[in-house]
Each structure stands twice: as C-alpha cells, then as structure tokens.
C-alpha cells in the first residue's frame, strides 16, 4: 500500500514538474520497493527546538535507517516536532513537505532527503556517492561549539556532597560585547539561568564534571565540559551564526519574558514581528505595530504618535538610542520615523519605568539601533508602494570599527497624481530619513559609537497650505568596563525638532515656524556586586529649549506682519539609582528612585498677574526681566520607582509596582491628534511640571516552555498639574500662553489582559483586551472649565481589543491576520445653538460629551522570507498586505460645518475608508 503510494506520489510530482529524467524512475524504483519494511515501521517520538538535520539524525536511531542529505541545503531554523505511532513514511511526509523537501529511498536502510528543486538523478547519484565516501560534512554553524574547562584539581579523595560556585562572563566572540539574557543550562536541563545585564552569571554546582550548554538566539550553541573542583571563574565567547539574525529574531530580550522579569507591564516587540504585521502601503512601521499591544492605542489612521493607557501623546518618552524624538510621524502620521532596517530592539515600559528614564508620565518607548557588522559587508534594499529603503553595513577596520548607514526616501508624490481634486494633483508629499552610525571597539570590552540621524517631511496641499518638519540627532556613546563587575556608559545627545506651517499664495500668505532644541548628557553605571544584585545608577542632564515661534510673510504682498514669540527654556539635573535584587528564590525587587532638580531660566520677561485673579491678559500688573541664563524658578523632587515580583512557581508570578514620574515639557495641542506645529512648552513660573503616580498589579504565567503566556495588569494613575486649555484659547503665537491654560488633574484606571501563543508549528499570535478610563478636571479655583466637573480625556477609549494570528505554512511563508477594535474616543460636540448677528453659533458647553463611532479594522498579510531559510547569497522577502480588509470607514474625528444659514452639521471623517492592498519587497545581501 505504502510502496504504491510513494511511487505514485513521487512519479506524479516528477512528471508534473518535468524536472527528472526517466532514468531516475528506473534507477530508484527497485530501491523504493525494498524500502517497504522500514517505511512501515511504526514509532513515537518528540523533538523540541531542533532543526531538520537534527530531527533526521534522531529518526535514524528510532527507525534504524540512515538519512543522506546535504545539511547546508536544509533549512537551519529550529522547530518542535512530535509524532505518535506513525510510520516512517508518515513522519517524513509531514515533516518534509511543508519545508519544500522530499525524500527518496535508495534502499532499505538509506534514504535521501533533498530539496524539491534538487530532485534529479544526477544530484541523487552524487549525493549517494558522497555519503558512501564519507565526504558530506556538517556545516560548522550547525555544530555546537564544544569546549573543555577545568577549574581546580581533582581531589585525591572525592567527596560527593561538595559544592563549587562558578562565576562566568559571556561575550560575543566577534564584537566582545557582553550578552545579556543568554541561558546557561546544566546537564541537559531545559530550564536555564539567564545572564545579567553585563552578561554575567553565577551558578552553584556539585564538585566534579558537569555539562553546561549556553544558548542564545542568533549564536551557535556552546557546550562546556566543565570539571570544577573549586570555586572559579570562566569567560565564554559565543559565536554568532552566519546569518543576519539580528534582523529577524530579537526574542531573547529579557523584557519579553514577563514571568521572569521583575517589572510590571513591560513589552518587547520583536523586529521580526514588526516586519510580519500587515503593512500600510508596504511599509513596516514600529509605531503602528505598537498599537497591537495591550494598552496602546492611537486616535485613528493617520494620527501622530500613540497613546498609552489613555495618556496624551506627549506623555510618552520616545527614544532612539536614548535620544528623544519630539515627533515620530512621517507623512502626517501614516508612518513613523523609525526605520525598521536599523532597529535592534523595541521596548515599551507602561507600568514600572526604570529610574534611568524620566521626564514623561505615560510610558517610555526605548528603541535601540543596531551596530554595523564588524566582520563583513552586507545590507538590504527594500521597495514598497510608499518608499525605497537601503541599508549598508560592514567593517571599516575588521573586528575593530564598523559602520551602518541607512536611508529611506518616499516617492509618495506620484500617488497624489491620482488625487481627485486639482489641489491634490498639485500637491506634494515626501519624506526622507537617514542614519549613519560608526562603532569602534576601543578595547575588547569598551566601545565608542557615534551616530547622526536626520529626518525631514514636507507636505503641501496645492498652493493653499502646507507643513514641514524634521528631526536631527547627533549621538555619541562611550561604553567602558569598570573592573569586572561594572560597566559605565557615557552618552551625549544633541538634537533639534523643527516644524513649519505655511500658506503660500493667499493675500495672507505666511510661514510659521517653531520647534525644540535639546542637549542631554548621561553617565550610567551598571554594577553587579553579586549574583543577586544588579544596580543601575547615574546622573543625567537634559536641557530643552523651545524654539521661538516665528511668523513671516512669504511674499511682499502679504498682509501678515512678522511676529516673533520667544519661548521658554528649561533644564533637568537628575540622579538615579535602581537596585534589582533577589530575596530567596521567589522574591525579586527593584527599588529605585530618581531625584530631579528642574530649572526654568532666562532670557525672558515674566508677567506678574493680579494675585487671586484669573491669569488673563487683563490681570497683568507688572513684569520682571530675567537675563540670559538667569534662574527664573525651580521645581522637581524625588520620584520613587518600586517593583516587586513574587514567583508563585517557575511558571507564574505576581508583581506590584509604584512609580512617580514628572514631566517638564508639554505639547500644547488643540487637537486630539497633534499637528507638527503644536507648541512645545517647558514648565515655567505658571505652568507647573505634571506629576503622575501610577500603581500597577500584574500577574504573568506561562506554559509549555513559554509556548503559551498569559499576563494581566490592573492599574491606577493620578496626574497633577496637567495643562488643560481654557475655552477657545489662542495657543499659537501667544507670548503669554499661561493665560490660555489651567492646571488640571487627571485619573486613570483599568486593566489589561494579554494571551499569547509564542510557539507552534502552524499558529502563533496573541489576543489582548484593555479596559481603561481616563478623566480630567480643573480643581475648584477662580477659573475652571466644564464647571470643574470631571470629563473624559480625549483618549478615553474604554474598550480596546487587539488580536493577531499568524499561520506558518513553513517558517518562510506565513500569513497573518490583525484585528483591532477600539471604542470611539470622546469629542466635544455642540449641545445647543444660539444666534448672534444673524450667525447661528454652535455652543460647546460640555467637554467631550460625545464619542465618535468605534474603530474596527482587520488586516491581512502574506510574507515570504528567504532570510529564514537561506544561508548565503541574496535573500528575498516579499510582503503582500491588505490594510483594512473590510473597507470600514473608521472615523478620525467628527467636525462641524455649516452650509448657507443652516445649523452646523456633523461630519465623520475617515482618513482611510477603504481596503488598501500593497506589496513590498526586500533583498538582503
């Protein structure tokens, strides 16, 4: 039965492909007939985290058969594979078919395994000859590195209960950099101990010989035959796999293991996931991908930035290699400025925020960029419907100095030719961003990296109006060891965010510019005094100088007069310390604090307002001039940061955290979705720093070696001194902007539940649900809005669901479905109308008294990625996406417009109101 089936299958395939000669059939049929008995042998087996070559090797023992293959041509990726009471034929069929492999029995005990495209007589004969002659070699990268280390001398008389303590340091063999999060497993155990932030570990062993396996994603396994008779130390260097794994797998990040790490509500987003998620116009996007996480949302398609647990966009500290970005949007928010080709890791802190971060209330998005390759030149080129990308990296001096350079440029102008309006056709929209980063290994453990980044956006709508904005960052980072147990990181950043809005051709033509200049420096030390403690400490200085608002006529005929509105400057001096330590085997704690002194300084003329009266222009009674650099006022305080984790067992943990955060710079926006030219205002005499206190209780559990994860967080947050604008404020070009704002208070509460399937041969994905409420009010005072009552914030979207499911035909070919649901955000709509001067005036007497319709979106993507199957040569990846498959008109907002003398009518506006198919491709070399 099975013999016949094999023959028919093989014959049909070969015949249909016209790729094999008749000789092949004749030559191997007799062997196939002989193979019947082995093929019908039934057996049971299970393999975890093995590549196909390793599974075939395992099957040889089970079925008493030899497999003959070219290991270099087999997929290298690892997978889980189990079978029960299956014949060898069934096992091979299910194992090989989905990886575009097949098998051909040479005889009863020898079976060839090869790629479908190699299936021809010449190849199979050659393979058999090489096998018989013993010339097939296992590629180096598939072999574990084996080392023997002896510490101390074997005693003459062996004592069975003696223990030894071994300390170790794990480094990258190429770069010398320490590897945090590598697993050290003892004697074949699957549960290991991770290395700390400095790549160090300490392990207690019985004296004698032990087998240690060190494993970290992207590196060859290293097996240590350790003979340890006394306490001692050892250094282990892991060899990187000969693949660009950094591009596709970042899952070894410590933050991704919610059960093991001590912090509440920290999310690590793998860059591979960013690239696999359905894309808009073919562009993978970090910020859009964030909105698939629990507790993260945005206003709608095309909105700038993102909102965490109902917080404002400006309450997120968005970092790129520790330098802040004040606007992460490209093309008015359709894309973000992070180029996924150079991103190494994406970590979002929503709950407990380490003390080294400060200055924002809601979250910290820490995006780290890659270093260039120290050994060889490589890169990639990508094309999508929106932009072209290129990345190039390699050694300037091999193993000493590397460079990585990446650039993106949109060609979105061509799309505007399809715009229905003449203005649209005459419009212009483009962006670019570019990065150059040079990293030098000064010694084996110290490095200096210098990077420069620039992005620029331009949008002009016909000849009517337009926006432009851009980011510039210069960064230098010096990393040095301080003895064996500490590393110091000294960093300086300088940058600028500038924006402009212009109307080029009307009688009121003008150009309005503003932005922020910043400088910051930080010195951090990571100290590991012992195996139970990890201390992060340091000092930081951060200066933000809001750039003047400058209004200029663009042409001489303009009726607009030049206007310059100077803005405030402020700086923070911070010292911080975090100590992450273990108490026993179950408790982990992070006790930390950040102390900040904030200084608002001149040059500035500060208005004095009548005491006890509303802060309005009418109540200015005096002014004081401060000279350049002179301190005007100070603020600040201590920000405790505490997180405690209790391990219920190896797979479940409970956590609780408390954070205090202060924010000294605020984006003053009159829209729920900020525009590029919204004013950045530092805290001053009248605008106090925002202070937020967040409490978080978390639960995490995992099953089946992290195949399944479940985590949940319950949170409550209060915010003091949040700027709330008065009714109908003038926010732009206002030298006394404090007259337009009131100090409000906010409260947020809710919970997040996240279920995740991390592993599986076919299906993986996650399902998140968030319930969050966010309210604001102005406390009783001489002036209030909304009568001092609580009102929902612009980002109060109580119910949020994100689901992502990925189906892998094989590891190279996957399809994904992403679904997002968010309850509509609040908006202020008129609740009465009145008439003045013949004008019917809508009156908005209650803030955020309505909600826009809910947001629902389903996306689809198909990814084919040779990076996951090919070892060498150019590798292609393709992506086909359909964004908003259901073509739903998800509203961005609701606005009101009057036609003739009727009352204002409400209109719902959707930026993307139909399904958007797209295609993108990448070539990696």
């Amino acid at each position: 039965m099975h013999k016949t089936k094999i023959l028919i299958t093989t014959y049909n395939y070969l015949w249909s492909k016209f790729r094999v000669s008749f000789f092949l059939l004749i030559a191997f049929v007799p062997f196939a007939l002989h193979a019947q008995s082995r093929m019908n042998t039934s057996a049971t087996g299970s393999y975890k985290d093995k590549n196909i070559y390793e599974i075939l090797t395992g099957l040889e023992a089970t079925y008493n058969v030899r497999f003959c293959s070219d290991p270099e041509l087999l997929p290298w990726y690892k997978l889980d594979y189990s079978f029960r009471n299956k014949t060898l034929h069934e096992v091979l069929k299910s194992l090989l078919a989905k990886h575009t492999l097949t098998y051909v029995p040479f005889n009863d005990s020898l079976v060839a395994v090869c790629r479908l495209q190699d299936l021809n007589g010449d190849y199979l004969r050659g393979l058999k000859d090489r096998f018989i002659n013993g010339t097939i070699e296992l590629p180096e990268f598939l072999k574990p590195v084996e080392r023997t280390i002896t510490i101390g001398e074997a005693p003459q008389s062996k004592t069975t209960d003696a223990k030894v303590r071994i300390s170790g340091q794990i480094n990258d063999d190429d770069t010398g950099e320490s590897i945090a999060g590598a697993n050290i497993m003892l004697n074949g155990s699957r549960v290991g101990q991770p290395t700390n932030a400095l790549g160090q570990f300490r392990i207690d062993l019985p004296a004698g010989t032990s087998l240690l396996t060190i494993r970290y994603i992207g590196y060859r396994d290293t097996k240590i035959n350790l003979s340890a008779w006394t306490d001692g130390e050892m250094e282990i260097k892991l060899s990187p796999l000969p693949l660009g794994l950094g591009e596709v797998l970042i899952e070894g990040n410590r933050a991704s293991n919610k059960t093991q790490n001590v912090q509440t509500a920290v999310e690590a987003l793998a860059v591979s996931t960013v690239k696999e998620l359905p894309k808009l116009l073919g562009e993978a996007d970090v910020v859009r991908s964030l909105s698939t996480l629990a507790g993260v949302s945005n206003v709608s398609d095309g909105a700038t930035g993102f909102n965490v647990r109902g917080g404002n966009v400006d309450q997120n500290l968005t970092l790129q290699d520790d330098a802040p970005l004040f606007n992460t949007a490209h093309v008015l928010g359709l894309f973000s400025v992070y180029n996924p080709d150079v991103v190494q890791s994406v970590t979002l802190y929503k709950g407990h925020v380490p003390a080294k971060y400060g200055g924002r209330l809601s979250s910290v998005l820490d995006v780290k960029l890659r270093d260039g390759d120290f050994n060889k030149f490589r890169g990639n080129i990508g094309l999508s419907l929106a932009a072209a990308r290129g990345r190039f990296e390699g050694p300037i001096i091999k193993k000493r100095v590397s460079i990585i350079a990446a650039v993106r440029r949109s060609y979105s102008d061509w799309m505007l030719q399809f715009a229905p309006l003449a203005e649209g056709k005459n419009s212009s929209a483009w962006f670019y961003d570019g990065l150059v980063k040079v990293t030098a290994r000064l010694t084996e453990k110290s490095s200096l990296s210098v990077s420069a980044y620039q992005s620029k956006d331009f949008f002009r709508y016909g000849q009517k109006y337009g926006y432009g904005w851009g980011n510039q960052i210069f960064n230098a980072t010096l990393r040095q060891p301080l003895g064996d147990r500490a590393v110091s990181v000294f960093q300086v950043n300088t940058g600028r965010y500038n924006a402009n809005y212009f109307e080029p051709s009307s009688v009121n033509n003008f150009n309005l510019t503003n932005g922020v200049d910043y400088r910051n420096a930080a010195w951090r030390v990571v100290l590991i005094p012992n195996a139970r403690n990890e201390i992060n400490t340091g000092v930081q200085w951060n200066r933000n100088m809001a750039r003047p608002e400058v209004l200029r006529p663009k042409q001489s005929i303009s009726t607009i007069l030049s206007q310059d509105v100077p803005k405030d400057k402020g700086e923070e001096f911070a010292a911080f310390v975090d100590d992450e330590f273990k108490l026993g085997t179950r408790w982990k704690l992070v006790l930390g604090a950040r102390g900040v002194v904030y200084r608002h300084f001149g040059e500035k003329t500060v208005r004095i307002y009548k005491q006890g009266a509303p802060i309005t222009n009418e109540n200015i009674i005096d002014s004081i001039n401060y000279r350049k650099g002179q301190t005007i006022n100070t603020a600040g305080g201590v920000e405790p940061r505490v997180s405690i984790s209790y391990k219920l067992d190896e797979k479940r943990s409970l956590k609780i955290s408390y954070n205090r955060m202060r924010q000294y710079i605020h984006q003053i926006s009159n829209l729920a979705a900020p525009t590029p030219v919204d004013v950045w205002q530092v805290s001053n005499t009248y605008i106090a720093p925002q202070t937020g206190d967040q409490y978080d209780i978390g639960y995490s559990s995992e099953w089946k070696d992290r195949k399944w994860e479940l985590s949940s967080d319950l949170f409550y947050k209060t915010v003091q001194d949040v700027p709330i604008f008065k009714n109908l404020p003038d926010l732009l070009l206002n030298p006394n902007i404090e007259t337009q704002l009131l100090a409000g208070e906010g409260r947020t509460y809710g919970f997040e539940i996240s279920g995740k399937k991390n592993k599986g041969n076919r299906w993986t994905g996650w399902l998140n649900y968030t319930y969050v409420r966010t309210f604001l009010r102005t406390p009783p005072s001489v002036e209030t809005v909304n009568k001092g009552d609580w009102f929902p914030s612009d980002f109060d979207q109580p119910h949020q669901i994100n689901a992502y499911a990925k189906y892998a035909f094989n590891p190279s070919v996957t399809v994904g479905f992403n679904y997002t649901y968010r309850m509509g955000r609040p908006i202020t709509v008129p609740n009465r109308v009145y008439s003045v001067g013949g004008v019917i005036v809508p009156d908005y007497s209650v803030r955020n008294n309505e909600r826009i319709p809910s947001y629902r979106r389903l996306d689809f993507s198909l990814n084919a990625d040779q990076n996951k199957s090919r070892i060498s040569g150019a590798k292609f990846s393709f992506n086909i996406s359909i964004y908003n498959v259901l073509g739903r008109n998800n509203p961005f907002s609701v606005y009101f417009e009057k036609l003739q003398d009727t009352y204002p009518k409400a209109y719902s506006l959707s930026v993307i109101g139909s399904a958007i198919p797209s295609i993108g491709m990448d070539v990696t070399f």
Binding site: L332, E423, T675, L728, N831, V833, S835, Y844, K898, I912
Partner: protein, 359 residues
C-alpha cells in the same frame, strides 16, 4: 474644533479616494437652554439700532425664543442714557429698538447697556469705546471657477463671485479692526399658475448670505494711509443673477474686544481649517450677569462705526462663462418641480417687501 486643513491634508495623502467624509446624526443631550443671549449693536448709522434678546435652542433647531418685557438702556461715559423699546419688524420678528437719534455716536466715547429682565435679573455690558470711522471706497465682484469634491469623489467646479472691497485706511488709528456684514438680495418674480383664473403673481426679494455666514474680519497694523483690498466672501453664481441682485456690504470699524469676539465666533461657527482654529468651548461675550456673576451670558453688544456700499449685478455682469440660464418655466408646474417658481415665499429669507434701495 478639529483642524480641518490638517484633516484635508490627511485625506489628500490618502490620494486614491480612500478617505471619506460623511454626514452623521448626533443625539446629544441638550445643554442649558435658559441662558440669556444678547445680540445688538450701537453705531453711527442714521437708522435705528436693534437689539435681540433670546434663549439658546437644541442643536439642530434654528428658531430662538424671544425674551420679552425687558427694560434696556444705553449709557455713555458722559452720563447720557437712552431707553430701548420693544417692537416688531415688518417680518414680525420681535426686537428692542433704539431710535437713530436717541444717543449721539461719538468716536472716542464709551458706551454700555443695562438689561433688566422681567424676573429682576440684571445684566450689563462692558464699556466699549466707539472706534474711528473707516470709509468704504469700492466693492467689486471677481468671478472664478473653484473645484471641490462632489458626491462619489467626482470633482465639481463651482462658479463663484468673490466680493472684493477697497478701503482707504486712516492714519489716526492703529491698529484698525474691520468687520463686514454682507449679503446679496436678488429679485425673484413668480410665474403665473396654469389655469383659467390664476392668482396675481408676486415679486420676491431674497436674501442670500456669503460662505455659510462666514464672518469676514481683519486686524490691520501699521497700514494707515494705504488703500486696502480684501475679498470678504463669495457667492455661488446661480439664479440670483438672472434678474438682478444687489450686493450690500456694511464695513464696521470695531473695537479690539469685538474683533476678538467675532474672530472666535467665526472659528467656532465656521472653522477656517487653519492651525489657528480655536478648540471648541463656550464663547462668552462682553455681557455679565450682575445679579449672579457665576451664570454665563451668551452674545455680544458691539459699539462700532459703519459705512455701507452696495452694487447691483446682472446676468451678464460677470462675463459669458458666468451667465446663468432661465431658472423657471411654466412646465415646472407639470413636472412637479421648482414650486418656488410659483410661490416665491418658499425660498429661504424671501420677502415681498421691496428694499428701500431697490431700483
């Protein structure tokens, strides 16, 4: 208020017609409908001064309840005082009237009103100084084609007549704040109804406002001595031009407070879509509740100097590309369409009372 231009920018980016705008119905809980709304002015005009007292209404309703039996007076800084009387307009709209010569309008002098409602509640406006007179020199019409996105994403070109004013700016005041009230009044004669004994036909005079009641206003600094040109609004080229229409422009020289009020009102009621748009909120004017200052008052009492200019336009005034066809024919009756052709009072803002300036 949403920033319309930012949104249009996003729509334009979607470029392929993937964005969309659709009207939605809101079922919002009405706010306080007992708040007093004051709407009036005091000018140098030779005609009467009108003041309206009303209450707000639910969103979507454009009729407003008159507040009767109030006692209203105007006062100046010289101690003069004059009282309003309650009366009805020819269209039977109730209002409070101050006779043209009841109080002299003198630039530089300040004026305020006091209102006592029937229930005893007192209201008072903040004093305003009468601004300098700024004469209106010329008004002309500039015809242009303007494309817009119609239903189904089809581009439609509207024919619009832009109303341009020219005014010499005095040097005696800086800055100068100008606001304009403008409308178009056109002649619309009815057709006789078919049949043996049709009723006599009427001639209607229909008032159209510009740009959906957009409030044109501007702040001019350091431009005294120059001639200022400005397009204050536009009007669709339609049936109004068939039989002739008057374009009436009233130029008001207003105070800074009035300018700021109308600027905000304009943005609230008709967003320009610029980054300068005010976010939504309640717009309070210069009236306060003396009896209970915590209770807000809507509306504004304006003190201004005015000048009026009007031009008449016909079907051929704007050139051949902007001529309009015959709007009504007798077959409309049988087609069941355009009933306004046989009953001109069905047109919005129509009256059979001929304006005093009509020739």
């Amino acid at each position: 208020m949403i920033n319309l231009k930012y949104i249009i920018a996003l729509i334009a980016l979607s470029a392929l017609g993937i964005g969309c705008i659709s009207e939605i119905q809101l079922d919002t809980e009405p706010g306080d409908l007992t708040t007093l709304v004051v709407d009036g002015d005091f000018t140098n005009s030779k005609s009467e001064h009108r003041l309206f007292l009303s209450r707000p209404n639910k969103y979507g309703v454009s009729k407003f309840e008159h507040v009767p039996n109030a006692k209203i007076s105007i006062n100046d800084d010289a101690g003069n005082k004059a009282n309003y009387i309650e009366t009805l307009s020819p269209e039977l709209i109730p209002y409070y009237q101050l006779a043209a010569n009841a109080m002299p309008a003198v630039p530089g002098r300040s004026y305020f009103i006091e209102i006592a409602l029937e229930d005893g509640t007192m209201y008072r406006s903040a004093p305003q100084v009468m601004p300098i007179f700024v004469p209106l020199d010329t008004v002309r019409l500039n015809p242009r084609f303007v494309p817009r996105l119609g239903n189904g994403g089809i581009v439609v070109e509207d024919r619009l007549a832009f109303v341009e004013i020219q005014t010499p700016l005095p040097t005696a005041s800086n800055p100068i704040y100008l606001r304009w009230d403008a409308n178009c009044v056109y002649y619309f004669p009815e057709l006789p109804l078919p049949g043996p004994l049709p009723p006599p036909t009427r001639q209607c005079y229909v008032t159209d406002f510009f740009n959906g009641q957009f409030v044109p206003l501007i702040e001019l600094r350091n431009q005294g001595g120059s001639t200022f040109k400005y397009e204050i609004g536009n009007k669709f080229v339609d049936k109004a031009f068939e039989k002739g229409a008057y374009f009436n422009v009233i130029q008001r020289s207003v105070t800074a407070e009035s300018f700021n009020y109308w600027k905000k009102l304009s943005k609230v009621s008709n967003p320009e879509g610029t980054v300068f748009d005010a976010p939504p909120g309640t717009l309070l004017g210069n009236i306060s509740n003396v009896s209970n200052p915590d209770i807000g008052v809507l509306g504004f009492f304006e003190v201004s100097s005015v000048d009026t200019f009007r031009i008449k336009a016909f079907n051929n005034t704007l050139g051949p590309d902007f001529s309009v066809g015959i709007h009504c024919d007798e077959f409309d009756y049988y087609r069941g369409s355009d009933l306004e052709c046989f009953d001109c009072l069905k047109l919005r803002n129509s009256t059979i009372v001929q304006p005093h300036y009509w020739r």
